[in-house]
């Protein structure tokens, strides 16, 4: 029954979140001494910008998560904060909150990931499908090794190469940033052009590597789909090639590919994070990088949690939607 499936799937989601939060909580405390405490102490000692506030925050932290509190209480406090969407303050950018920092960076990342992945998936699957189609000229098969190489290169390494060639040597695209340094972001054409201009190289890095992956996956899928009996009958019926390719071949190959996309979500997100680092692109990945450099523990923890949550949510949504796309699945539940 669809309901049992729903419950089981949702249960998995909760389990993942639970485990993620627990890991995030336990690991810093496994080391002798609390690294966060130490960082706070260092900040207080070196005297950051707002010294009294930092001291107050350090004190508040000690009260909530300090060594005098039993661990289980610290754990519950942690959950309490999270459920109130309180991810803490940034140590490096005090008094900015982690939530706010992530919030301002998230749209950049979502835009980059979303658009690049969509384009890569669309172009890649079409290429892959065509490569499996028998009437395609043999010469095009030469593309396959190229695609294999493209799929084996991590996005961000491709990014470095692209920066060198297209931003340093030929100054077609900017080398870093999400927008012109110092400019104000408005909803006007100039800003949009600027943003797209800056997003081009990061996007291309992700797209080229992505096309390699999806083309190969789709090709594999199509090869087995084309061996099915309904393709033979479709041909026997005298249907024209294009119709068979799109509606009998690709349409059936697309479904498992969407599952593959879901499984690869972790890779894609990791790749995007690293691409942002290379391009100093103002998204969540770059924020994570900066936080690691400045030992901004709350930001690191916050971003990690958001990452896990986002991916778990995306997988949940995809699992719930799948029965809608594939007519067979809905009825199997009967």
């Amino acid at each position: 029954m669809y309901l049992t499936y729903l419950i089981r799937r949702f249960g998995m989601f909760i389990l993942v979140i639970f485990l993620a939060v627990t890991i995030n909580f336990i690991i810093p405390r496994l080391m002798p001494g609390d690294p966060v405490e130490q960082q706070l102490a260092t900040l207080v000692a070196t005297g950051g910008g707002h010294m009294e506030d930092v001291t107050a925050m350090a004190e508040a932290y000690r009260v909530k998560f300090g060594l005098d509190q039993p661990v289980w209480k610290q754990y519950l406090n942690y959950w309490w904060d999270l459920l109130h969407l309180n991810l803490g303050y940034s140590l490096a950018n005090y008094p900015d909150t982690v939530g706010h920092m992530i919030g301002s960076a998230l749209p950049w990342t979502l835009g980059l990931v979303g658009i690049s992945t969509l384009i890569a998936f669309a172009i890649g699957s079409l290429m892959g499908g065509l490569l499996a189609w028998p009437s395609i000229p043999r010469a095009l098969r030469g593309a396959i090794p190229l695609l294999m190489i493209a799929s084996a290169i991590p996005y961000f390494l491709l990014g470095i190469i692209l920066v060198f060639f297209l931003a340093i040597l030929l100054k077609i695209f900017p080398a870093a940033g999400g927008h012109q340094f110092g400019s104000v972001l408005r909803f006007d054409l100039a800003t949009i052009k600027d943003v797209l201009h800056h997003a081009a190289l990061p996007a291309i890095s992700i797209i080229v590597a992505g096309i390699g992956v999806w083309a190969l996956e789709m090709r594999g899928m199509m090869i087995s789909t084309l061996g099915e009996d309904y393709i033979t009958l479709a041909e026997a019926k005298g249907l024209n090639g294009k119709r068979i390719f799109l509606w009998y071949g690709m349409r059936n190959g697309l479904l498992p590919l969407l599952t593959a996309l879901a499984l690869r979500l972790g890779y894609v997100v990791t790749g995007v994070i690293l691409v942002e680092v290379i391009f100093s692109y103002p998204g969540v990945g770059f924020k994570l990088f900066q936080a690691v450099q400045t030992k901004d523990y709350f930001v690191i923890q916050g971003i990690v949690l958001i990452l896990i949550f986002a991916i778990a949510l995306a997988l949940l949504v995809m699992d719930l939607i799948y029965p809608v796309i594939d007519p067979r699945i809905t009825y199997q539940r009967r």
């Binding site: 099915e228 009996d229 309904y230 026997a236 119709r243 009998y248 059936n252 479904l255 067979r328």
Partner: protein, 320 residues
């Protein structure tokens, strides 16, 4: 001769393998009268399905049609362009596939799959007319019109097979090739499907080639039976005569291996195994297993000869 709607002459279909060509169909010839029913029987690997596919020109690499002619009326199908053949499929000759289980596109409704046939053949009908025609079409094969809106997995095996029959007659073809249409079905459904096929064929006046290995089924349905062995036709005869007086030793063994409801006897099989199509036995392919083998059977290939009007045998026993 003139009432023959289809004539296959010396058809050869070879499969290229690293070890050499496998002669799946090696010189098959037979006529099909207008409105007639021909059954092609043989063991697995005898070449009967390959023959059926070859008539539709659906042989894919590494298989290829090595030679022969397939005459539909005056046209040699093997000489047509790809596009001309495409238009002809299902319009003049249809196929009811083996294994209807997987022959329907799982993500498309039945209605759309039938509409696809119409649209691919210069059909230009209004939506309303199409719906009506499809409803009628489904009724003729004994299905409720609502089936049109369903997906293949919602149908039973028998229903799917009948949908395939419906699709095969959509454009009122002249020849219907049914490739083991009932192999995967239970006996009761088998009978229903065959009845439907028979009725449909009568209505259309189309000719049917029924490919299979169930002699009992053949006996109830076809006018003529062609027996295939190792890629060749060894005997063609009207159905009663082939059961009463089979002429070719292989046919004789086949018929006698059918259990009888009347008399009790020991089961009889056919000794030996089916020959390799890569290296067929020299001379007559059946000679290693033939109980009536003679000296020159291993060196000379027998030809298909019409020993009586409407009876062909390929055997040295009949002086060929």
């Amino acid at each position: 001769m003139n009432s023959d709607i289809l004539r296959v002459q010396d058809l050869r279909v070879y499969y290229d393998t690293p070890a050499g060509p496998v002669k799946a169909v090696d010189g098959v010839s037979f006529p099909l009268k207008q409105g007639g029913r021909l059954g092609l029987v043989g063991e697995s690997g005898s070449g009967k399905s390959t023959t059926a596919l070859a008539i539709m020109r659906l042989i894919k690499p590494p298989g290829r049609v090595e030679g022969g002619q397939i005459l539909l009326g005056d046209q040699d199908l093997l000489k047509l362009s790809d596009e001309a053949m495409r238009k002809l499929r299902f319009d003049q000759i249809s196929l009811i596939p083996q294994g209807a289980m997987n022959s329907l596109n799982p993500v498309m409704r039945i209605k759309q799959q039938i509409i696809d046939i119409v649209n691919s053949h210069d059909g230009d009908y209004s939506e309303a007319k199409l719906n009506e025609s499809i409803g009628q079409l489904l009724l003729t094969v004994g299905l409720r019109p609502e089936v049109a809106t369903m997906y293949p997995h919602e149908l039973s095996g028998g229903m799917k097979q009948r949908v395939c029959i419906a699709m095969a007659i959509t454009l009122r073809p002249k020849v219907i090739i049914a490739d083991e249409p009932t192999s995967a079905l239970d006996v009761v459904v088998q009978r229903q499907v065959m009845e439907t096929l028979g009725k449909v064929q009568d209505d259309l006046g189309a000719a049917v080639i029924l490919v299979g290995h169930d002699m009992g089924l053949m006996a109830q349905f076809v006018d003529y039976i062609g027996v295939m062995y190792a890629g060749k036709l060894v005997e063609i005869a009207p159905v009663e005569e082939i059961f009463r007086e089979p002429q070719h030793p292989y046919t004789q063994l086949l018929i006698s291996s059918i259990p009888s409801l009347e008399s009790k006897r020991l089961f009889k099989g056919i000794p030996g195994v089916a020959p390799s199509l890569l290296n067929p036995p020299s001379g007559c392919s059946f000679h290693p297993r033939c109980p009536q083998v003679m000296g020159h059977c291993s060196s000379q290939v027998p030809n298909l000869k019409e020993i009586n009007p409407g009876r062909w045998v390929s055997c040295h026993l009949h002086g060929v």
